[in-house]
């Protein structure tokens, strides 16, 4: 019985799950402490609100509707987290998911609003733009030895200003926001789900095929990494580039390809949000949208597994949305950002956690083996 439990503890997936849950727990706990420090009176209620998110509504219909809204934003987050984890599997830290997301938004909105393209062209444009930006980082790394983290950050800001300029051409006259798709080009809106599905979300108009599509992409990425030749090569390069070279894989090609795919994922994620009409682009925004950075949190919290990412992305978005419901007279919505940033930080300790756990298990086993050998020896002598 005990034996079984320990071998379960040795399972990598179980360890990842435990580590992630621990990160969430500590993250929420510290968040709670911060709330207590700010104002003890409402802290418990606030943390419960964050965790409950749309469940704070008492009417079932409202709950369904806002579940829908959470999912609408989960889709792009999931795409960003896939982008981060895909690159990480090949040994690259794609902090540029944020910028790739930005150019994805720019490309899709510009195609939709300036050229009146149908949604699938806009989606494709976002994918291509993201991939191109990712490939730039890959090229810089492969041929100029520029650290991908630094180049990605620079590109994040460059893309932000570029997209701001580009989309200013299609913004409303009186506000800094881009024109709405529904009034300008409804054909660019992503198709809604079949009507029986829509009723699950109380006909939330922003619920589109983006949601199932993002899950499909997650599965596809999982398949790509686990089941295909390409995934086999890319992961080998990430785990041991010397062995990859030894058996004839081409490092530079893999590097650029990886960043392009990662960029495509993030770009596609942006289209999945902006082509629903849920949000318009604010052409005066002065900071890179947090979606790409939250993607890092989701990727690591999901144990760097595409399927785990589905859950973790939902969780991160869930508490982010939940943050919007806290009592504004006491706390700010950014408490959720704070908690997710804390969770990323804690994810840094996961490797150490696993290492310590395995060490502990090994020592345990050794002790037991020694005991067994001892008793055997005694038994042997007795005979």
């Amino acid at each position: 019985m005990k034996e079984q439990k320990r071998s379960l503890l040795r399972n990598n997936a179980v360890q990842s799950l435990m580590a992630s849950l621990l990160c969430i727990l500590i993250g929420l706990l510290v968040g709670y402490v911060v709330l207590l420090l700010i104002n003890p009176a409402g802290a418990s209620e606030a943390i419960v609100t964050i965790v409950k998110n749309f469940m704070t509504y008492s009417r079932r219909n409202a709950q369904l509707k806002y579940l829908g809204s959470t999912l609408v934003k989960t889709a792009p987050l999931l795409m960003c987290s896939l982008s981060v984890l895909f690159a990480y599997k090949v040994g690259l830290f794609n902090i540029g998911a944020a910028g790739q997301y930005v150019v994805g938004a720019g490309a899709s909105l510009y195609c939709a609003l300036a050229w009146n393209m149908p949604w699938y062209v806009c989606l494709l444009a976002a994918i291509v733009a993201g991939a191109a930006l990712g490939a730039v980082s890959g090229l810089l790394k492969a041929y100029c030895n520029v650290n991908e983290v630094i180049s990605c950050i620079m590109l994040n800001w460059i893309s932000l200003y570029m997209v701001n300029t580009l989309l200013t051409q299609v913004k409303e006259e009186t506000s800094p926001y881009t024109l709405t798709l529904s009034s300008t080009n409804p054909g660019a809106l992503l198709p809604a789900l079949p009507s029986f599905c829509m009723s699950w979300f109380n006909n939330n108009q922003y619920v589109t095929i983006a949601i199932p599509l993002s899950v499909l992409v997650a599965v596809a990425i999982w398949v790509l990494l686990e089941k295909t030749k390409l995934g086999y090569e890319l992961k080998a390069t990430g785990c041991n580039k010397f062995a990859a070279k030894y058996c004839g894989m081409r490092e530079n090609k893999n590097l650029i390809l990886t960043m392009a795919i990662a960029g495509a994922l993030a770009g596609m994620g942006a289209a999945m949000l902006f082509l629903t009409g849920f949000e318009q682009w604010q052409c005066t925004q002065s900071s890179v949208p947090g979606m790409g950075f939250n993607g890092i949190a989701a990727a690591f919290l999901g144990g760097l597994n595409p399927l785990g990412s589905i859950l973790s992305s939902y969780f991160i978005q869930h508490i982010t949305n939940g943050g919007a419901y806290v009592d504004k007279t006491m706390y700010s919505a950014q408490i959720s950002d704070f908690i997710s940033a804390l969770i990323i930080y804690l994810c840094g300790f996961v490797l150490f956690f696993k290492f310590a756990l395995n060490n502990w298990l090994n020592r345990w086993d050794e002790k037991k083996a020694a005991k067994a050998a001892e008793s055997e020896e005694k038994g042997g002598k007795a005979e």
């Binding site: 030749k229 086999y232 080998a236 041991n240």
Partner: protein, 510 residues
């Protein structure tokens, strides 16, 4: 009258799981002598020095300094006792100047500010006294390996160390630099320093040492006075009279030429000299050609050049009549080159992959294992891995899905051997295929290599173990300082003669 020794290591025994690295070894270093410590790779020399340096605690035995028992718990204790060491891989900060490296850790300071003028005076004085010519303001990355080594020596002298350990100091030096080093060592000894000189180059030991202690397979063989001994005797002590491994094999029947290497030159990563200099040789079908030599004489780079891991600086490689000098690695692999790499963790395996995924590392792209759409055929991979595991007796916790990292070294190596041999190569390049393995595994791998030869393949074996060289090879090429200094026939040569070639004491045509 009892002789007083500068340092004594008495009856030292150090065990590691499954192996006795030092078995009751005694080493006594007289004051002012140059004492050589001789032994093959894996004889236990580095373990013994690690014990002296406080990196390992021995299970049995004591260390005495000037007749007093001392305890050495960590390298700082060793430093405090005046023990200094020039490591085989220098511990120098490359972007610092020579002077900075020398004073690092014991910097002369006033209120935290470095007093370099003071330090420079002392260094220059030492440098003059012992004939250690260095440029104190040059950056370490710009100076020759010889000067780097002199920097390391000055580091010890600057700390007023009395006992100086040189770990394989000549491995990376040119002959002129070696001659210089010998002179420096004599000067140091004359000034009363005691020197421990770890080496397996016999003529250097004969040239410079006063006494020599020999280790073999973790055991103490004996200590001799150099003036009463010969190279041949030392060689015999180092290698042992009896060949431990008897490999049953028929005489070779060499066929057509498989590999032809002409004037191959490969640059070195660690020093400015070329690691491989104008080497030419060939390997024919049905023979085992062995590259023998002491570690660091260009064997690694030679193999990198052959397999494509390093570009050639010059020369030409032909495989079965086709020029592969500039062919990419994948091309060479598919053309029939198999490579059992020297470092199984760095090159041979993706440690975080499962055993089955490692088994197909050289073949995953073949139609047998991947569909046209790019999907891996998991079932085919599993079946293939299971067949190899059964056929080559690779043992692991969970069979094909075991993570390679969790397997024992012997079984990891068996997996690589299985993978490379099963590829059915024309040329098998095996680099130290039995390093760090137990007797059973060694025997098994030797049999496989001979079987390849008998199947008409060309085999190029690189080994540091004399036993292995003698037992397996049909032809021996000895490498010394990046060149092939001799071609020997194992049937007519002796271990002693081979040892002389490896140590650079003898070369063809000289």
């Amino acid at each position: 009258m009892e002789q007083t020794y500068a340092i004594e290591m008495l009856n030292i025994t150090k065990r590691f799981p499954g192996i006795v690295a030092n078995d009751n070894i005694t080493l006594q270093l007289k004051k002012g002598e140059i004492h050589a410590l001789l032994g093959e790779n894996g004889a236990g020399k580095s373990t013994l020095m690690s014990v002296l340096f406080g990196l390992y605690r021995p299970e049995e035995g004591v260390i005495k300094k000037d007749g007093q028992v001392v305890e050495i718990k960590d390298p700082n204790d060793a430093n405090a006792l005046g023990i200094g060491m020039v490591h085989q891989h220098f511990k120098l900060v490359e972007c610092f100047t020579v002077l900075d490296n020398i004073i690092m850790g014991v910097e002369p300071c006033k209120h935290g500010f470095l007093q370099k003028a003071e330090a420079r005076e002392k260094v220059m004085a030492l440098s003059e006294k012992y004939g250690l010519h260095v440029d104190p303001d040059a950056l370490v990355e710009d100076i020759t390996v010889g000067m780097q080594q002199r920097t390391e020596i000055l580091k010890m002298l600057y700390r007023d160390n009395e006992i100086l350990i040189f770990d394989e100091p000549t491995a990376v030096l040119t002959p002129q630099e070696i001659e210089e080093l010998m002179q420096i060592m004599r000067n140091l000894a004359a000034e009363g320093k005691s020197i421990l000189f770890i080496s397996h180059k016999l003529n250097e030991i004969m040239a410079v040492a006063d006494r020599c202690s020999v280790l073999r397979k973790g055991k103490y063989i004996g200590t001799v006075d150099i003036k009463d001994t010969t190279r041949e005797e030392l060689s015999r002590m180092m290698v042992g009279r009896d060949v431990e491994f008897v490999v049953h094999k028929e005489p070779a029947r060499p066929g057509k030429t498989i590999l032809e290497v002409e004037d191959m030159t490969v640059a070195s990563k660690s020093h400015s000299n070329n690691a491989v200099k104008n080497v030419s040789f060939n390997v024919r079908a049905g023979e085992i050609v062995c590259i023998a030599g002491i570690d660091g004489n260009g064997q690694t780079e030679l193999v990198y050049g052959l397999t494509g891991l390093e570009p050639l600086k010059g020369g030409k490689i032909t495989l079965e009549g086709q020029d592969i000098t500039r062919a990419p690695i994948r091309k060479r692999n598919t053309m029939g080159v198999s490579h059992i790499p020297e470092d199984r963790h760095k090159h041979g395996l993706v440690l975080d992959y499962t055993l089955e995924d490692n088994m197909v590392l050289q073949r995953y792209f073949e139609p047998e294992f991947v569909s046209k759409a790019g999907f891996l055929k998991r079932k085919a991979i599993r079946d293939y891995a299971e067949r190899l595991i059964g056929q080559y007796d690779v043992r692991s916790g969970q069979g094909p899905v075991t993570i390679a990292r969790s397997m024992s070294g012997g079984n990891q190596q068996k997996a690589i051997v299985a993978r490379e041999i099963d590829k059915d190569p024309e040329l098998l390049i095996a680099v130290q295929p039995t390093r760090g393995l137990d007797v059973g595994a060694i025997e098994y791998i030797h049999k496989q290599i001979v079987a390849q030869r008998d199947a008409g393949k060309g085999v190029l074996l690189v080994s540091l173990e004399l036993d292995e060289v003698m037992a397996l090879s049909d032809r021996i090429l000895v490498m010394y300082e990046g060149e092939i200094v001799g071609e020997l026939d194992p049937k007519t040569t002796t271990v002693e003669e081979l040892g002389l070639y490896m140590a650079g004491a003898k070369r063809e045509g000289a």
